[in-house]
Amino acid sequence: MTWRTFLRLLAIWIGCLVFCALSIFFSVRIDRSRVAPGPYVVTVWERGQRSARQVVNGEQELTHALEAESAPRGAQRIVERIVDSAPIFGHSWLMIGLSMVPGQDGLFVEFDGRTRYMTPDDLRKLEAYEHTIPIGPLSLILGIDVSRVLGALARELATDPDELLRRGRFRRFAVVSDAPYPRKVSELEITAATVKDSIQGAARYLVRNQQHDGSFRYELNAMSGGESEVYNYPRHAGATYFLARTANQLRDERVLRAAERAGSFMKDRTTLQCGSHACVGTGDRVDIGSSSLALLAYVELLEGGLEAFRAPALQLAAFLRSQQRPDGEFKHFYNVAEQRAIDAQVEYYTGEATFALSRVQRVSRDPNDLEAARRGLSFLVARSPWFLGSHYFWGAEHWTCQALADLWQRAPDRVALQFCLDWQAVNRNLQFEAPPAPTTHDGSISRGPFMAPRLTPTASRLEAAVATLEVAYAAGLPPAQIDVLEHQVKRAFAFLLRYQFSPGPTHLMPKPRALEGGFPGSSIDLHVRIDYPQHAAGALLRYWELAYAGEPH
């Protein structure tokens, strides 16, 4: 082979590759910014179920489509206007799964001369967006759960899913919906009133879903109205902490009573003996996370004037101190059966214990608590100068910066401040920006370019971001640096408020009243677990304390 032949072959290869790439790109792409030309999918929903559907092509027809069906009280008529569509190649479930954008695309099928539209609302209702499948030892995340979607479409078309896959002609499509969810919220709408409303909504969600014994309905599914059977004590403690803080900050007696019931549930039912100290948990092995979050809740309840929580708080503080190693790290577990500490570590617990010890010192006045918290924080933010990557690899641990803020007036730590500023810079890089991201995702923290962002990872980072902002003000950082941080925080809050159930996609929800005020997992995971409102509204509450607490409302 001569140079000339080689270059000729290379040019042919590049030409073929470019041709194939452009053909694929222009065949599968969808222009979501187009003015909707139709058709329009008109659906009537009643008590969270689809009761009627009509597909129309013109504005004239649209005005009167399903008018009578939407007349009954409680019926909601939703119009999803198709803005663009593109074919899905082949008759393969893998291609269908890979061709759908979670939360944004609908699926059209033509089969034996009949057509069906599975709109984004239908896919949300079916809980069919994002599906993980194993391929060998790898996990591949598809845009939709193809089996579930084909099953639903096959039922409508009175055929079986395999036949539908073999003979159906599939297209994906993008819509503009007139449903009032997600709400249109920008950072300009982050005001004292909207922030306070959101916090109160989240607190009321938890109060509404509290049982008589003080526990909560752990996880509600907005699409089915069902609830989870499992329970988690650290998350119960976190929810209690949020309720008690809200009650104290917003002076809400009803919320304080709910927090007291939730606190008593932990104190009376989950307090064990770990050596000579009290600890919180169940079973033979407990973790310090439950005790730390319980301690945070007890301190807030004490600040609300509930003295019954003083002794349990001091006992838990003693337990946490006894678990600390000389280098500031904590032993995260305790074997209750064998009455010995287990020196093993997982994410979050060191930060939680450090923050809890810092908080409890405000009521215990014990210098040992302050010293333990100070050492915990130093350990958490220590970065080896020999590992360059320590500046670029970050986890999701969000308690450290809250401990920094709480300790700042009593034990300021500049290294920790820099650590938190660096982490927020990384989070800014991960923050979706519209455009190019969809407007509804603006401000959220990315999980990757092909997945819908989740609310709680954004919210927990926000708790840390607001804490960092608080210290940035206190430390007198340059205004430009503070502005960048505040802009980041407000954009993320706008994302959270867009998706809060206030009141949410009520047309899809059988029991919208039970869900009101809750924060879902994501735009496509419309479940509310007790820690979702805790983190989202907890971050908002921090910001409210920082920015608006002194203002007259």
């Binding site: 001569t2 590759l17 790439a21 790109f25 599968v28 792409r29 954008v101 060998g136 790898l138 370019p449």
Partner: protein, 138 residues
Amino acid sequence: MTGNESRVRVAFGVLNALSASVLLVGVFGVVQPRFWALDAPAAIIALVELVSAVGLLAKLPWAERALSIAAWVTFVLGMLIVSLVLLTITFLRGIHGDYGLAALAVSSLIIALLVPYTVVLPALELLWLKRRRAEPRP
């Protein structure tokens, strides 16, 4: 064999040994978990490159034959992998739209890392072999 030829053979031997090492360490030392779709082509390329490197550096009689096989295997698999990566990127870009600079940078980095080892080096080897065969032998 002229001094120039000898230097080229040593250079290709060293480069093939280096490519094979990078591939073996990269795929079998760093990437987890094991997956035949990546492991098998990587192992094949590394094996033929190592064999050709040994042949070239030890000046064995079958060295050029081994180099030819190694270069063709690497070149064909390399072109295939680069094509698949590019077409996958284009497909995902079409489906998901503009998904941001970071994703584009990562994709470009993958291509930039693959091309020198899997396309440029074997192409140069094949060209050198062709010229060697065209030259009159004493």
